[in-house]
Every structure is written in C-alpha cells, then in structure tokens.
C-alpha cells in the first residue's frame, strides 16, 4: 500500500542524495518525492510517497531516522491530511479544439498557463485521482508533454509536522 511520509530534514547539501540513496540501496520503492524549504530556512521538508507493507514501512522509517540530517518523520497515511500535486500538461490544440479543452479545464478548475499556435499548456492541482482524471480527459487531444510535482501533504486541523509541532515525533509518540 502507498504511504505518505512527511520528513523534515536539515537543509544541508547532499541531504536529498542521502535520502534517495537510502531508498535505492535498501530496495524501498519511491512513488514520488517532493522537496522544498519550509517556514524555517534551515529545514527542508520532503513528502515521500512510498510503496510497501507495514514491515517495510517500519524499516523505511527506522532507517531514515538513522540519517543524521533527518529531524522528524510523520507517516500521514492513517491521519486526516490534505494531499495535492500539481501537473502541467501541454496538449495538442488546433484552434478548433481549444474551446473544448478550455471547457474541460474549467470543469477541473485547471488553468491555461500558455497558449501557442498548435498547443495549450494547462496547470491542474489536486489529489492523484483528480489529476489522473484530468489527464485522461485530455488524452484524446494528444498530450505532447506532461510533468508533475509529486504529492505534497499537510495534516488537517491544528496539528503540524513542524520540527517543534505536535505531530508524532521520531519515536512515534505524541509530543
């Protein structure tokens, strides 16, 4: 099953290589990985979607904790959380097809971000199901190029996964 991990790491050079290398050498399957700085510039946050059973996930978390640069891990899967990804799709669009593409974009609350003579580029944000449905809707027109960010996620409600937040700490206990 897919798990969504929110991982706070020190914003040090090489930290992405450390995490990615750990996943590859231990044979853990990354579905997606998104990384960026947080409200604290010394800390980056990775959202890692990883495939595996409970035992694999336990190892993933424990091995991640052994990396000195990893500050905190929160498995959001069983929690109430908001997960989103962004996709940019460049679709073949002769002038006759544009109207229909724009209608589809409207339905998905996507935005046209570039308009060329023979292509339209649309931006769509949402959970995987929505993004997949959007992609399928555009497929008949001819998708020229597609790029997605991978999932980013945040807990619902007051709780957070910040370094001093009240999510689960690295020992798996409530703070």
């Amino acid at each position: 099953m897919l798990h969504t991990l929110a991982v706070l790491v020190e914003n040090n050079p090489g930290v992405l290589a450390r995490v990615a290398g750990l996943f590859s050498r231990r044979g853990f399957n990354i579905d997606s990985l998104a990384v960026g700085t947080t409200e604290n510039p010394t800390i980056s946050r990775m959202t890692i979607v990883v495939e595996g059973d409970d035992q694999t996930l336990e190892q993933v978390e424990k091995q991640l904790h052994k990396l000195v640069d990893v500050i905190k891990i929160n498995d959001l899967t069983a929690e109430e959380y908001v997960g989103r990804e962004l996709v940019l799709i460049k679709v073949a669009a002769d002038p006759a097809a544009r109207g229909e593409i724009m209608q589809i974009a409207d339905v998905f609350r996507a935005r046209i971000v570039d308009l060329g003579r023979r292509t339209v580029t649309v931006e769509c944000t949402g959970d995987e199901r929505k993004v997949r449905a959007f992609e399928e809707s555009l497929r008949p027109f001819g998708i020229k190029e597609l790029v997605r960010t991978g999932r980013v996620a945040v807990l619902r409600g007051y709780r957070t996964t910040s370094a001093d937040g009240n999510g689960r700490n690295r020992k798996g206990e409530e703070d």
Partner: protein, 550 residues
C-alpha cells in the same frame, strides 16, 4: 591559524593521540600542521592499511580510530577500510584532503567525490567548505562516530580550506537536532522481556558485538549465571563472554559448534543481546530457532524486526538494558535443558583429526597455549579466521579482532599494527592465510619502521582455502583459480627487516612460537599446513542450522 592547525587542535581536543595516514598533494597543509604537533602519526604503506589500522586501534582500545589520506586515490583507497568499520560498527574518523573549493566538480587532478562515494558506508560524512566550520565539524564527527551505535564518519577537507586562515573557537556541545544516538529504554519493554524470560524453560542467550561495544560483558555474565542460561556468541561477540565458562557454547551459525546450533534450534527462548541476526548466523531464516520466542535487545531500533520477527524488543544501550532487566528476573538452577546441552557438548565436541601433516587447528591451539590465552588476536578472512574463532579460547572483550560483516581479506596485518599501537605492552598476533596476508603485506614495513612487534602466523595451505573448500563441497572439486603460487615468506619478512621462519612439523610449532615471543620485533611465521583441511562443522549456504556437515 590555518585551517589545518585548527584541525589539529580540534583533534587534540577530541583526545586523539595517534593517527594512521599517508600524505599527498591535497593534505600538505595538514601534514605541515602535524609536523610539530603532539600527535603520533604512523605512516602506513597504503591508505587501506591506515584505515584498517585505525579500525584495529579502535576495536582494541574502545577509543575512536583516526586515519588520514589525500584526495582522489588516497581517499578511494580508504573506502574498503571505511566499509569494514561500518559493517562492524567501529568508531572511526576518516579525514581526507580534497581539491580546492574553486575546482570542486570540475574533474580536477586527484579529485574524487568521496562524500558521495562513502554515503552508504559511513554513519555520516562532511565536506568542510568554510574554515569557520572546521572545529565544529571535527567535534561533531567524533561525537557521531563514538556515540549510539558507533560507526565511521568521514570529513573531506578541500586544500584551500586547510590552507586558509581562521581562528579556533570552541564549538561547544554538538547541535544535531536529527541525531538521537540512544533510544530511551522503555519500562514496559523491559517488563515484557522479563515476562518472556521468566516463562522460558529452555533459554539460550545469543550475544553479539554490541555486548563488547557497550562494555556489558560483566552484565551478560551476571544474566547468564542468574538464569543458568547457555550463551552462544556471534563472530563479533567472541570475547564478550568467557570462552572457558561452563555455560559457553562457542560460536553459532555457519561455522558454529554443533551444540550451539542444536541449542538454538531447540530452545524455547532466544535472548539476542547486541546482535543483528546476520545471515551467517541464522542460516535459512525461516527455520531459525523455530521453537523459540525471541527477545531482542539492541541499541539500534532499525535492527529490531529487520531480519526476524521478535516477541519482545528492548531498544537501548545493552549494558543499561541488562542492568534494568536482571533485577526483574529470578534465579534458575541447572535442569534437564542444561543436561541435554551437556550431552551435546560431550557427543559433538569441537575437534579435528590430528596426526600426519601439520594441522591449522594445532597452530591456533599452540598460539593459545604459549601465550597463556592473553594475546590480542587479529585475523584475516576465510579459513584462518574461522579456525581462530573456533580453537583459540577468548576470555576477554576486545581480544579477538576480526572483520565480521564485510569479510575483508587484508584486514588482519594492518589491524594488528593498530592494536599494537593501542596496546604497546601486549602480545599481538595476526592469524593469517597465505592468500589474505598478501593483500596488505606492505604493512610489514610499517610494523618494522615503528617497532610494532606484531607476530604474523600464516596458515599456509597454498590455496584460497575457504573458496577452495566451497569448490570442493559445492562445485565438484573444480579448483578454479584458488591454488596460489606464493613468495618465500621467510625471505620476504627478512627483506622488510623482520624475522621470518618456516614451520612444517607439529613438533616445531611451540618452539617457534616461544622464540617469536622472545623476539623484540615483528616476526612472520609461515606454517605450512595440510592443504585440504576443511573448516567444520559447516551449515551449507541456505540450509537450516541443524543441517550441519562435517
């Protein structure tokens, strides 16, 4: 001050008294700072030797070993030594020179991305890009290497950072928010483990290197005697429990004793202490300790549940866990279980057929006898290592120093040099094979140069013996590229300025060993032994522990 001088000061602050190293272009500033520093530098003849020597130093002393090499090939030559320390959880700080920061990433002369290369084989590593980070980085490196589950830390220092100007400022305590070296021991985990132990009728304690790292040999002995529980150790755990104790079963696993493997197979409770269920220990993991509940005590939570399912786990420092656990237990007396094990010990003793040609096992037993068992023993890897583990009776922690996880041929001689540097007044033997000794034989010169009087006992069968054994057993005796043509080890020893001697008769072994002990410098002994002797018992690869051959 230069960055290099700050480095040397930081090393002094960390308590470093000995460095094993090899100079080169990108560490000139560091070597200049070492020139009149109050730190002993031992020049090995190969950087791999420096890494293994630092490793041996650390294992013998319990302090963090330090090795130093230049950039590029100097750094990559450390790699095997670093991986070796990583697999066996040895505290090591490896310092490497690097191309100047302005040339990083340009494939400049002798540039290698050593932090990238060592990512999977270090506990952590650093590239020091600013001289202001030097003191703090060194402090953190030693802190990380030695705390929790120890391991190697690499610090890569560009030439311009080492040569640049800066000031030493006390970095204070390390601030590493993501580093929790030791899990807090949970009371309920201890109680759960105690309940299982109290309920057990046929317990076995399976102790690993964590007992030695944690300094828990006394606590382990107390636990075993309280429970009257037999104790088997892994290769890394040898010396963590007195080898002459009646409760001792010897080593378990692929070349373990029959009685240790039988005991593990029939026990109803296995107490794993500072051990990690390596495949050489478990054999076929599905049938390992099939009747047992498993209690696992380890400082590294990631080891718990990694290879086998456990019924109770206590994450924490082994010594602290044992101290908390033992008072909750009740004393047991010897009973049917202990009697059964006694019968196995009598029925299936560890023995070999003596007679005819000189036997390797005889050499090991004689080294034990003439040293009174008090020597520190390093080994190479293969048959020599297994016979040393089986036939030398180790009674003290840190007296058996061997490459367990990585299985590095060429470890023993440089490690012995490191051990001798740490323990100048003790007798240090490297039990070697004729194959593996040649992998770092250049370090004989280091031993001679620094008056480190290591005694090298080559178990010389003219083969890569363990590989030959597998070819005999599993590849229909097709000895593909395992027969060795060897140099004249006696002349080679003499060429290095050491004493050399060849022995091929059992009757001469004791005399030669006694003479070696009287010799003040290094001695290389070439024991020409029975060529096709096998290490037994043996659990064939992929088989269950009770399916031993030999």
């Amino acid at each position: 001050m230069t960055g290099a001088e700050i480095l040397v000061k930081a090393l002094k602050e960390a308590g470093v008294d000995t460095i094993f190293g090899y100079p080169g272009g990108k560490v000139l500033a560091i070597y200049d700072a070492l020139y009149d520093a109050d730190i002993r530098h031992i020049l090995t003849r190969h950087e791999q030797g420096a890494a293994h020597a630092a490793d041996g130093y650390a294992r013998a002393s319990g302090r963090t070993g330090v090795c130093l090499a230049t950039s590029g090939p100097g750094a990559t030559n450390l790699v095997t030594g670093i991986a070796n320390a990583y697999m066996d959880s040895v505290p090591l700080v490896a310092i490497t020179g690097q191309a100047p920061t302005s040339l990083l990433g340009t494939d400049s002369f002798q540039e290698a991305d050593i932090t990238g290369i060592t990512l999977p084989i270090t506990k952590h590593n650093y590239l020091v890009k600013d001289v202001r980070d030097m003191a703090r980085t060194i402090k953190e490196a030693f802190y990380i290497a030695a705390t929790g589950r120890p391991g190697p830390v690499l610090v890569d220092i560009p030439a311009d950072v080492a040569g640049g100007a800066g000031e030493y400022a006390d970095p204070g305590e390390p601030r590493l928010p993501g580093y929790r070296p030791e899990p807090a021991i949970r009371e309920e985990d201890i109680r759960a483990a105690a309940r299982l132990i109290l309920a057990a009728e046929r317990p076995v304690i399976y102790a690993g290197g964590g007992v030695i790292t944690s300094g828990a040999a006394r606590e382990l002995l107390a636990l075993a005697e309280l429970l009257c529980a037999p104790v088997t150790t892994t290769l890394m755990g040898i010396g963590g429990f007195p080898g002459d104790h009646p409760l001792y079963l010897g080593m378990l696993g692929m070349h373990g004793t029959r009685y240790a493997n039988y005991a593990v197979t029939e026990c109803d409770l296995l107490i794993a202490v500072g051990a990690r269920f390596d495949d050489r220990v478990t054999g076929k993991v599905e049938t390992f300790a099939p009747e047992a509940k498993v209690v696992h005590i380890d400082i590294d939570p990631a080891e718990i549940g990694k290879n086998v399912r456990v019924d109770a786990a206590v994450a924490g420092d082994v010594k602290k866990v044992l101290r908390a656990l033992t008072p909750l237990l009740a004393a047991r007396v010897s009973g049917a279980w202990q009697e059964k094990i006694g019968r196995w010990k009598r029925e299936y003793p560890l023995e070999y057929e003596n007679g005819g040609k000189l036997k390797p096992q005889t050499v090991i037993r004689e080294i034990y006898r003439v040293t009174g068992g008090r020597a520190r023993i390093t080994t190479e890897v293969g048959q020599n290592q297994m016979w040393a583990a089986q036939y030398f009776t180790f009674t003290r922690p840190r007296s058996f120093i061997t490459s367990g996880g990585l299985g590095t041929m060429g470890f023993g001689l440089p490690a012995a040099i490191g051990v001798q540097a740490a323990c100048p007044d003790e007798t240090v033997f490297d039990i070697a094979g004729d194959g593996s000794i040649q992998m770092n034989i250049q370090e004989m010169m280091t031993a001679v140069d620094y008056d480190l009087p290591v005694k090298v006992a080559i178990i010389d069968n003219g083969y890569l013996g363990m590989v030959r054994q597998w070819q005999e057993l599993f590849y229909n005796r097709r000895y593909s590229h395992t027969e060795l043509a060897n140099p004249d080890f006696v002349k080679l020893a003499e060429a290095y300025g050491a004493a050399g001697v060849r022995v091929s008769k059992a009757a001469d072994v004791a005399g030669v060993l006694e003479e070696a002990l009287r010799t003040s410098g290094p001695v290389m002994m070439d024991f020409v032994v029975e060529r096709e002797e096998n290490v037994v018992p043996m659990v064939p690869p992929g088989a269950s522990l009770e399916e031993m051959i030999g």
